[in-house]
């Protein structure tokens, strides 16, 4: 097996007593105190995550916007300066190469935050498609990413950033100085809570991570690992590449229609149009297993009226709901909200109610 890579925060994770796990080629914290405790910290107060494994691609110059318009499903041309959005990169068949967030940093400057496992693939895909001659740089190695997520996040950072982080709207981003460190901050996240993602120079990451824990002491803010990241995103109904998304899956099947802007001729658009007219081959559903004694996990089979209808793509015990939840794909004819499917858990078929996503939605002030 290849040696796992380490983020600039690896030493700190060990010091904090993290249980480590291999993820996308990186040695990452799975949990510190415990997945449920960390999960609750983010739902009720705030949590700090190391996401430095994720990839950062810079796309700049006059060709940047036209290139992104052509290779991504959401219209990068619609982004105002200092705005960000979720988008997908597709192949010609409409299959998903990656899902990502695009941040517009300058008039001709974009930052793409991509999945760790797809960083190289995404970069190469952009490079090959780049007939607009945009400047492309893979900045992943020198960039650290720290997320500070939870209802108390904005309040806790109020006195520590210039200009004020709290002034950033949801899905807005700006360069600023936080704890005396220059960073590029965005009000984005993957937890279903308010919060920030902070792009930093690798060397500055430990200082910022420690400072976040320090200011967070007032509210028992916790360092959080990939375990809580997964339970949080699942409750929030957010897709995870490699589970709900892959090159065999289109954004329409994944119920991500709102991130697809048709009529621009982007790569994969023709395939999506054909699928929209001909009908989806599969569809993502939320599932609530009714026997709340066992968890439907990735790969478990789904049945409708006795025939196999699909598979679970993600499943966990949802700490906020206190019950198991799952997401999975089914083939047509599609079940609707309130219908009952069966999920096979260790040879036993258990009823699961179809529900709309997300499972959890935060209450907004």
């Amino acid at each position: 097996m290849d040696q796992l890579r380490r983020t600039p925060l690896y030493g700190l994770h060990r010091q904090l007593g993290a249980r480590m796990t291999g993820f996308a080629g990186f040695d990452m914290p799975l949990n510190y105190s415990g997945i449920i405790e960390e999960h609750q910290a983010v739902r009720q107060r705030a949590g700090v995550f190391d996401l430095s494994h994720m990839g950062e691609l810079a796309v700049e110059g006059q060709g940047a916007a036209p290139l992104l318009e052509r290779v991504l499903t959401n219209s990068a041309g619609l982004l105002q300066l200092g705005q960000a959005h979720y988008t997908l990169m597709l192949n010609e068949q409409g299959g998903t190469i990656d899902d990502l967030i695009v941040y517009r940093k300058g008039s001709d400057s974009y930052l793409l935050c991509v999945n760790a496992a797809n960083t190289d693939t995404g970069y190469q895909w952009l490079a090959r498609a780049n007939r607009e001659a945009a400047e492309l740089r893979n900045e992943s190695d020198q960039t650290a990413l720290v997320a500070f997520q939870g209802p108390r996040a904005a309040e806790l950072l109020e006195a520590h950033s210039k200009p004020a982080l709290a002034a950033l709207g949801r899905f807005h981003c700006a360069p600023l100085v936080l704890f005396g460190v220059k960073c590029f901050a965005a009000r984005t996240g993957y937890t279903g809570e308010d919060g920030f993602e902070l792009f930093l120079d690798s060397n500055d990451a430990p200082k910022v991570f420690e400072a976040l824990l320090e200011v967070g002491k007032r509210y028992q803010v916790l360092p959080c690992g990939l375990g809580a990241r997964d339970t949080l995103r699942l409750e929030a109904g957010l897709t995870l590449y490699g589970h709900e998304l892959d090159t065999e899956t289109t954004p329409l099947e994944a119920a991500l229609d709102r991130f697809v802007v048709f009529g621009r001729g982007f790569v994969g658009e023709a395939a999506l149009r054909a699928e929209r007219e001909g009908g989806l081959r599969k569809r993502l559903l939320g599932l609530l297993p009714e026997d709340s004694r066992s968890v439907a996990r990735t790969g478990y089979r789904l049945f409708l009226d006795g025939r196999q209808a699909g598979k679970v793509t993600s499943g966990t015990y949802a700490p906020t709901l206190g019950r198991p939840v799952a997401m999975g794909y089914v083939s047509p004819p599609f079940a609707n909200e309130g219908d009952t499917l069966e999920v096979e858990i260790r040879g036993r078929r258990i009823s699961a109610r179809v529900t709309t996503l997300p499972f959890y939605r935060r209450s907004r002030p």
């Binding site: 799975l30 949990n31 997945i35 449920i36 375990g227 339970t231 004694r293 015990y317 260790r346």
Partner: protein
Amino acid sequence: MEVLAGLKYSKEHEWVALEGQIATIGITDQAQDRLGEIVYVELPGVGKKISKDDPFGIIESVKAASDIYAPVSGTVVEVNEDLPESPQVINEDPYGDGWLIKVRISDASELDDLMGDKEYEEMVAREQE
């Protein structure tokens, strides 16, 4: 990590406490720590026969579902009734209130295949290398 003297241990990280012909079975501190927060437990009913080295139940943590293997063979005479309601007791007190089942053993010589506390500690240390 806590390992208690006087108990027998299996390679699969279960412990056994024998009193007469009745063996109380649970998972070790090391096992509960590895699994993480336990959310569900599936155990056999009273009267069910279990066979050494075969799975007799399932423990689900947030992370994963794991089989529990029988360290000895026998017939289940008692099941920890508190676990369905509060499975986290296994995390909090794996050698005490977090016990799983009691069985009437069918072959006392099977105990000889299990490890003592020192031997188990050494195995855990080797696994962590």
